[in-house]
Amino acid sequence: MTFWNNPINFIGYWLNGVLTGWHLPAVLATLLIYVIGIIVMILFAMTLDIGLVWVERKVVARFQDRLGPNRIGPFGLIQPVADIIKMVIKEDITPDGADKIVYNIAPVLAATSVIVLWAILPLASTIYGVDLNVGLLFIVAAGALGTLAIIMAGWSSNNKYALLGAFRMVSNMISYEIPMVIILLIPTILADTMSVRGITQAQSGMWFAILSPLALLIFLISAIAELGRSPFDLNEAESEIVAGFHIEYTGMKFGWFYAGELLHAFTFGGFIAILFFGGYGGFFGLEKLAAFAWLNIPFVQALVFIAKAMFGYWVIMWVKYSVPRIRIDHMLAFNWKFLVPLSLVVLVNTALLNKILIVLPNWLYVLGMFGSNIVIGYVTVEILRAYGRKQRKAEQIPDPQAHTQEQAV
C-alpha cells in the first residue's frame, strides 16, 4: 500500500500511527481520523465550489456572448474570492416575524444536503468516502434533505414570495424525484448493485449511457428539475416571485444557497458521469491493457472523473442558459403525463431485455439494449407529434363569431 495507489488509506494508516503514538486510545484516534477525513472532504468540495463559481460565470458569459469576469487575476480567476469577501462583509439581515432558528438553519441544511452527497462520490478507485451498498438511495435521501431545507427557508422567511417559491420548489422536487428514482433503478439493474463504486466498475466494459440513452436523458431532465435550474427554476422566477425562497437571505446565508446550488449542479454532473459514463474508469476496457496501466493511478482517475463531471455540469449549464422557463402547470404535466410513464416503460424494457439478452454474445446484447431504447424513443416522439397535431387541429377551428366582428370593425 503506497501513497500513489491508495492515498486515503495510506494517510489514515499513517495518522493512526501518529495518534496512537501520542498514546491516544484507539477509539478516540479512529473518531479523530474520521472527523479529519470529513473536514478534508468538505474543504475539498468547497474549494472546488469556489472554482465552480468562476466556471459558471465564464460559461454564462460565453453563452450570452460576453467576456465574463476578466479583471481580477488571470482570466478573472480570483473573481470568486472577491465574491466571497463581498458576501461575507455584507449586512446579515434576519427579517422581523421570521422564525429565527429555522431561518438560520435552512441555508446550512441546504449546503449540507449537497455536501453529504460527496460522502459516496468516488473520485477514484481508492479515493472515496464510503462505499454504501445503498448508494443510489442515499442520493435520493440527500435530495429529501434539500427539499426540507428549502421549505424551511421559504416558510421561516415570513414572506409570501418566499413561501410561494418554496411551495413551487417542493412540488417540483417531489414530483421529479419519482422519475429520478425509477431511473436510478436502471443502473442498479444493469450493474446488479446500488453501490456507486460497483456501478462504476460495472461500466469498465460498456457505458450505461450506451446501454440506455433514454435513461440518461430522463435522469438529466429530472436532475435539472431537482436542482431547480432553468427551465425548471420557478422557485426563483424573478419575473413572478422576485427571488423565490431565498428572497430574504443576504450575505453569506444567501452565499450558502448559491454555493449549494452550484456544487449540487456539479455533483449531479458527477453522478451522471458515474451512472452513465463509467465514472473514474470506463474506457471500454482500455485500462486493462498494459500500455494504459497509468490510467489506473488514482490521481489520474480523479482527473478523469472531474473532467467527466465537468462535462455533465456543462450540459446542465448549457440547458440552463439556452432554454426559457416553463409554466408550473406545464412542468408538472410534463412530469406526470410524460416523464413518469416513459421512465416506467424504459425501466420495464431494461429489466426484461437485460434478463433476455444477457445470454447473447456481448455485442448483440449492447446492440439490443441500444436499439430498444432507440425504438422506444422514436415511438414516444411519434406519439407526441400525433398528439400535438391533434391539439393544433383542435385549436385551429375558426370561430365564425370573431370573424364577423372583424368584418364589422
Partner: protein, 170 residues
C-alpha cells in the same frame, strides 16, 4: 464505554429529546421539524444496527415525504398552527400518568426477560443485507404477500387521499 455506545447514547438522547419537543412545543411547524430530527436520529440508530437500507429509506420516506406532508398540512391549516394558545387538552395529566405507568411496566417487563442484556454477534460474512431483504420481500416462500398487500394499501391510500383532499367543486 466504546465509541459505538457513546454514539448510541447521543443518538438516543437526540431521539428522545426531539420526540419530547414534538409533543410539547406549541408551534406546530416546529413540532413537525422536531419530528424530522427525531426520525433522523432513528435513521442513525438503524445505521448503527447495520440496516443501511432501512436507514436510508427512513430518511427518504419520513423526511422526504411524511415530514414534508406534515409541514404542508400545517401550512394549509395555518390559522390553527399559528395560534399561540395551549396546545394540550385540559386533562393533560391523565396521558402523562398513563405514559409513565406504561413505560415503567414495559421497562420492568423488558428487563425481566432473560438474555436481554446480550450484545449482537457480528453479521455473518458475505451476507448482503440489502440483497437478502430484497429476496425476502419478493420470494413467494417469504413475505411477498404482505409486501403486495402493503403496495395495494398504498395505492388505495393514494386514491383516497386525492379524493378526500380535492376541494369539492360546487
Amino acid at each position: 464505554m466504546t465509541a459505538e455506545q457513546i454514539i448510541f447514547l447521543l443518538t438516543g438522547a437526540l431521539v428522545l429529546g426531539a420526540a419530547l419537543m414534538v409533543v410539547t412545543v406549541r408551534n406546530l411547524l416546529h413540532a413537525a421539524l422536531w419530528l424530522v430530527v427525531s426520525l433522523f436520529g432513528v435513521a442513525v440508530l438503524y445505521a448503527i444496527l447495520q440496516a443501511n437500507f432501512l436507514a436510508v429509506v427512513q430518511v427518504v420516506v419520513y423526511i422526504g415525504a411524511i415530514a414534508i406532508l406534515f409541514i404542508f398540512a400545517v401550512m394549509l391549516t395555518r390559522r390553527e398552527a399559528m395560534e399561540k394558545g395551549r396546545q394540550t387538552r385540559n386533562n393533560w395529566w391523565i396521558p402523562v400518568l398513563l405514559g409513565l405507568f406504561i413505560l415503567t411496566g414495559l421497562v420492568v417487563l423488558i428487563l425481566s426477560v432473560p438474555g436481554v442484556e446480550r450484545t449482537a454477534t457480528a453479521l455473518p460474512s458475505g451476507l448482503d443485507t440489502v440483497q437478502a431483504l430484497g429476496m425476502a420481500l419478493v420470494s413467494p416462500d417469504a413475505y411477498v404477500l404482505p409486501f403486495e398487500v402493503a403496495s395495494v394499501l398504498m395505492l388505495a391510500a393514494l386514491v383516497g387521499a386525492v379524493y378526500v383532499a380535492t376541494a369539492d367543486k360546487k
